[in-house]
């Protein structure tokens, strides 16, 4: 028996297609358009091929920003992931008032708009009026994030850890809560050490949520813009100019639309590549576990 062919169902997909076209495809194609052309104003454009891409790939300024970006992302991952797991392990395992209090406190930093986070730390760290900066300098520390690049890095890293470790905690905690009591009881009966319990029960059960946490923290930190922009504006000098900040400087500060567009596309592809690698790894570990 053959069914009559009816293609009208495609109309049902139309709203999504339109939405995606306006929210993603058209803006992205505009950027692609800029990336291959040059303009001297008057809305006149000239085809330049891959010239902008070559320029960006050779640009020392972009290399430096990329280097800073990778260093930053690595540092915050190395701090936030273990710290988040550590905090989650020490949360109360059963539901109760304390659990609720912990969860609310942990969720607070996640609810604050990013530029407000930046403003909070910008003021918090100021030597003249900020609580942190003032105390540090009156204790005799030579702390000033607007002049010293090391201080600027420390401030931004602590800010990011403060802002985002909660996310790792919440995800890990969800993973921990899904472990049935019987596992802990069996481990007790088997006389497993605390480390064994972590290594053979908790970590394997948290693995999937941890991969998601790492992926989210990687993407977010690799694209970080607002908070360091508000705190340091990329300075002192270029010390905290990460990829996004550099990109915005190039596109809006200098109005180099062509190179900036090429930069955007490369940036986009790098993130896409890393996410794809993560995704593949996640799917495959899922398979092995069956």
């Amino acid at each position: 028996m053959t069914k009559p062919i009816n293609q009208r169902a495609w109309f049902l997909v139309l709203p999504v297609l339109i939405l995606v076209a306006f929210s993603a495809v058209i803006p992205l194609m505009t950027v692609v358009n800029y990336a291959f052309q040059d303009s001297f104003g008057n809305n006149e454009f000239f085809w330049v091929g891959f010239e902008w891409f070559e320029e960006i790939l050779r640009s020392e300024r972009v290399h430096d920003a990329l280097g800073r970006q990778i260093l930053f992302t690595l540092i915050i991952l190395v701090i936030e992931i273990p710290l988040g797991v550590f905090v989650a392990l020490h949360m109360p395992r059963k539901s109760g008032t304390w659990t609720s209090i912990c969860l609310v406190l942990l969720a607070l930093p996640l609810l604050i708009p990013w530029n407000v986070v930046g403003t909070i730390w910008q003021i918090f760290g100021r030597v003249d009026i900020g609580l942190l900066g003032y105390i540090l300098s009156s204790l005799g520390f030579d702390y000033n994030y607007t002049q010293d690049s090391f201080d600027a890095w420390v401030t931004i890293i602590i800010m990011d850890v403060w802002h985002w470790t909660s996310l790792v905690v919440l995800l890990s905690y969800a993973g921990l809560r899904s472990i049935p009591d019987a596992y802990y009881q069996a481990a007790k009966i088997d006389q497993a050490s605390r480390w064994s319990i972590f290594r053979h029960i908790e970590l394997p059960k948290m693995k999937n949520v941890l991969l998601i946490a790492i992926l989210l923290r990687f993407m977010d930190s690799f694209m970080i813009y607002t908070e360091p922009f508000v705190v340091t504006g990329g300075g002192p000098g270029n010390a905290t100019t990460f990829l996004s900040i550099d990109l915005v400087k190039m596109a809006i500060g200098q109005f180099d639309l062509g190179p900036a567009a090429a930069f955007s596309i490369i940036y986009f592809l790098v993130i896409l590549l890393v996410c794809w690698v993560f995704y593949t790894v996640m799917m495959n570990t899922g398979k092995v576990d069956g």
């Binding site: 049935p180 019987a182 596992y183 009881q185 069996a186 007790k188 009966i189 088997d190 006389q191 497993a192 050490s193 064994s196 290594r199 053979h200 029960i201 970590l203 394997p204 059960k205 092995v288 576990d289 069956g290």
Partner: protein, 351 residues
């Protein structure tokens, strides 16, 4: 190995007003196989966790031989326990899983290997020893849990908390027989929690029947069947369970609503008595006994079950092979020998 004594043991969970386990005195003899039988939520797992040391009782004492272990943890008590759902260590192979409790106790590598091979053979997992435990099906994983429970030879007792829930029915019988063999071989004290009476009655020498946190009767399967101490036991054990009819006992005459049913001997008078009789010991009659309304007859092949009603009480009658039902058989008679008299649900003893 040890004799386990419970002294006035009771437990109330934190924040709960009701006792999850009502005061209990009992001695678990060394080397015996016990079953804890009762419906879900009756406190049997609570009792098990108290014995294994995972839970500290809120009242009373627990002794291993003569030593008070009420406050000791599972490690000091040296107990093995198998849980309802499989617990395997995902990161390890089947062999490493089985070896884990031995390794944690610092046993020699050679001895561990020897013991693991033995156990693997017993639970029929020899071929999977080197494969990852996480990829196996639920019943194989539960076999690993069982294996891990039995791998230590020197334990004081092995506790099973409904261990065959996830195992498929055909394998259940096999595993139960294996457990029983193991019990004969090593003579560990075994306590087996279940809500399945067949499982309890086939596994254990002594069955402990619990309901609502209370131990109602401890006895052999025959005792539970023939002389239940409580109407709940009568009802819970047997299929269908014991029939219970309200009546009274005057001068050893059982009178149900002015009908004289049976004449017993040696009882004191009981006003509000519950008359308990197993369906196996009831017979249909055309004229004698209690008048009943028969609702339906279930033919189970080997025997027939008559589902009937007297006033508001269900009466089930099991007809033996070859017995036929005549159209005018609308009365039931009880076998005087097998009648149990209960008052406020507890059995009334007689001389």
């Amino acid at each position: 190995m040890a004799k386990i004594t419970l002294r006035k043991l009771a437990h109330t969970y934190e924040g709960s007003k009701e006792q999850a386990l009502k005061p209990l005195n009992h001695v678990w003899e060394d080397g015996a196989a016990y079953a804890l039988l009762g419906p879900s939520g009756c406190g049997k797992s609570t009792l098990l966790n108290i014995i294994s040391g995972l839970l500290e009782p809120s009242e009373g004492q627990i002794l291993f031989d003569d030593q008070d272990v009420t406050a000791s943890g599972t490690v000091e008590r040296n107990i093995a326990q198998v849980f309802q759902f499989p617990v395997v260590y995902d990161t390890m192979t089947v062999g490493e899983n089985l070896a884990f409790p031995l390794k944690n106790r610092g046993m020699d590598q050679d001895k561990i290997e020897k013991r693991v091979t033995e156990i693997a053979k017993m639970i029929d997992l020899s071929e999977q020893l080197d494969s990852r435990a996480s990829g196996l099906s639920a019943d194989l994983q539960q076999k690993i849990s069982l294996g891990r429970g039995m791998v230590r030879e020197d334990v004081n007792a092995i506790l099973f908390d409904e261990p065959l829930t996830v195992i498929d029915p055909a394998m259940k019988t096999d595993l139960r027989i294996q457990l029983k063999e193991l019990h004969h071989e090593f003579g560990h004290t075994m306590i087996y929690v279940t809500h399945d009476q067949t499982e309890a009655l086939t596994f254990a020498d002594q069955v402990v029947v619990m309901n609502q946190g209370e131990v109602l009767q401890i006895g052999t399967p025959t005792e539970l069947f023939e002389r239940p101490a409580h109407t709940f036991v009568g009802h819970f054990i047997g299929s269908p369970g014991m029939n219970i009819v309200e009546g009274k006992l005057v001068n050893n005459h059982i009178i149900i609503n002015d009908t004289l049913c049976n004449i017993l001997s040696g009882y004191d008078d009981v006003d509000n008595a519950q008359i308990g009789i197993r369906p196996e010991y009831c017979a249909l009659s055309a004229s004698e006994g209690l008048p009943i309304t028969i609702n339906r007859v279930e033919d189970l092949g080997k025997h027939k079950v008559v589902r009937a009603i007297y006033e508001k009480s269900d009466i089930n009658i099991i007809l033996r092979e070859g017995e036929e039902i005549e159209a005018d058989m609308n009365h039931v008679v009880f076998d005087s020998e097998k009648i149990g008299i209960f008052k406020n649900d507890w059995r009334v003893e007689h001389d």
